[in-house]
Amino acid sequence: MGNRRLSAEDREALEQTLQRAGMVLLSVKEEGDPVAEVQAPEAGAPPAPQPPSETALVVTKTVRSGQEIRHNGDVIILGDVNPGAVVVAAGHIVVMGALRGVAHAGCTGNRTAIVAATKLRPTQLRIAEVIGRAPDGDAPQSYPEVARIRGDLIVVEASADKRQASALEAVGAKEDR
């Protein structure tokens, strides 16, 4: 835990996970200190639209409460995302660890973006403009799961066996209707 480096095995495991999710690992940008990527949250402002970059950001550290990772492409985290932490990506978000904080994939409007995690227990999930949370009292699964948009809902399914799909509760606009 804590500091992690991307070894050859890690990279291979990562490539396989991404492949299953329909992605190809283009390049790995290793950051010595991922904290450098952490920005102070802007007061309620949506992420500024920027041209998506092609590189995936690899964070080799646990993202802790109060820290925020923002990236204009895919984000891969080798570590946990703890409650109170936020990960926002224009592309996909893959967490090789427990995702317990808030993740927002496809923040610039990409509804095909996914959020995948070894342990998917987010406080809240957002993909494009859709916001979801786990149903209250929902027992967390111990296998890797992938969240994506189906229809107007975020649906979570096992990354290997797609039959065990379950819909998240809608949060915000949809709930008010």
Binding site: M1, G2, R64, S65, G66, G79, D80, A98
Partner: protein, 268 residues
């Protein structure tokens, strides 16, 4: 050069001051030269817990402002001659001290003492930033409850983000009630460690002795039958590099309650 260790938590009321007082006393009992620094300027407590309130003449702010020499401001403990206290100013504010001043102060203290323990104020604002400025090690105190763990996580993140030569944070889980943990009403220590991803320095049980000793100004490590005091003594030995196994609170508890049940005193 001695070690400069900050005792911090983010959340208030989890036992930072109690930990600083007991750990410092235990380290001094083991023959180390120890100074406790109360970094909670404006809300000082450590002097009260140590029973040294009436001996304060000069405080930390007097030293950094040059009104007193460091030697004049150090208060010798009434029981242990290896132990000293540098009190916080009560009539001043956190912003009266800068991080740079704190760094210089702790450097000076580290030359004279084996251990410099900084009692950090709650929160993550200026007082916290000043307290961690000169520390190489951090002890995070957390209670086995969700809000405390959340704040501990935040503080560990801030500690990691500091530059300079710093060791990874160490965790003390304080105020553990083994029976509640066994019933599943309290967070498991393993779950806390999994989330916080830091090394466990010690586990301290909830103990009525602490309240008594705090009010009396006599750290619990002096009390022979205080379990918390024993836990702090173990932590002190671990800080000195000794491998002391973590106390198995659950085993002790169940044995004790079983004994009570046998003799007909048991409530459970």
């Amino acid at each position: 050069m001695g070690q400069v260790i900050v005792v911090t938590s983010g959340k208030g009321g989890v036992g930072k001051t109690t930990t600083t007082a007991n750990l410092g006393t235990a380290l001094a009992q083991l023959g180390n030269r120890v100074v406790l620094v109360d970094a909670d300027i404006g809300l000082r407590n450590l002097d009260v817990v140590m029973g040294l309130e009436n001996r304060i003449v000069y405080d930390l702010v007097d030293v950094v402002e040059g009104n007193a020499r460091l030697k004049q401001a150090l208060i010798k403990d009434k029981r242990n001659e290896n132990l000293y206290l540098l009190a916080a100013a009560q009539t001043r504010e956190k912003k009266d001290v800068t991080a740079e001043q704190m760094k210089n102060l702790t450097e000076q203290l580290a030359r004279e003492f084996d251990f410099v323990l900084l009692d950090c104020p709650a929160g993550i604002e200026d007082g916290f930033k000043n307290a961690i400025a000169g520390a190489q090690k951090a002890i995070i105190v957390a209670n086995p409850e969700v809000s405390s763990v959340r704040d501990a996580d935040r503080v560990i993140g801030l500690w990691d983000a500091q530059d300079g030569d710093r060791s990874p944070a160490m965790l003390i889980v304080n105020r553990v009630r083994p029976r509640m943990v066994a019933r599943g009403d309290m967070l498991e220590i393993d779950d806390m460690l999994e989330m916080l991803a830091v090394d466990l320095l010690g586990v301290v049980p909830e103990d009525d002795h602490i309240i008594v000793s705090t009010n009396r100004g006599e750290p619990a490590v002096y009390s022979r039958d205080s379990k918390a005091g024993k836990a702090f003594q173990n932590i002190a030995r671990r800080l000195m590099g000794e491998a002391v196994p973590i106390m198995d609170l659950e085993a002790e508890e169940s044995l004790w309650s079983r004994f009570k049940r046998i003799v007909g005193l048991g409530r459970s």
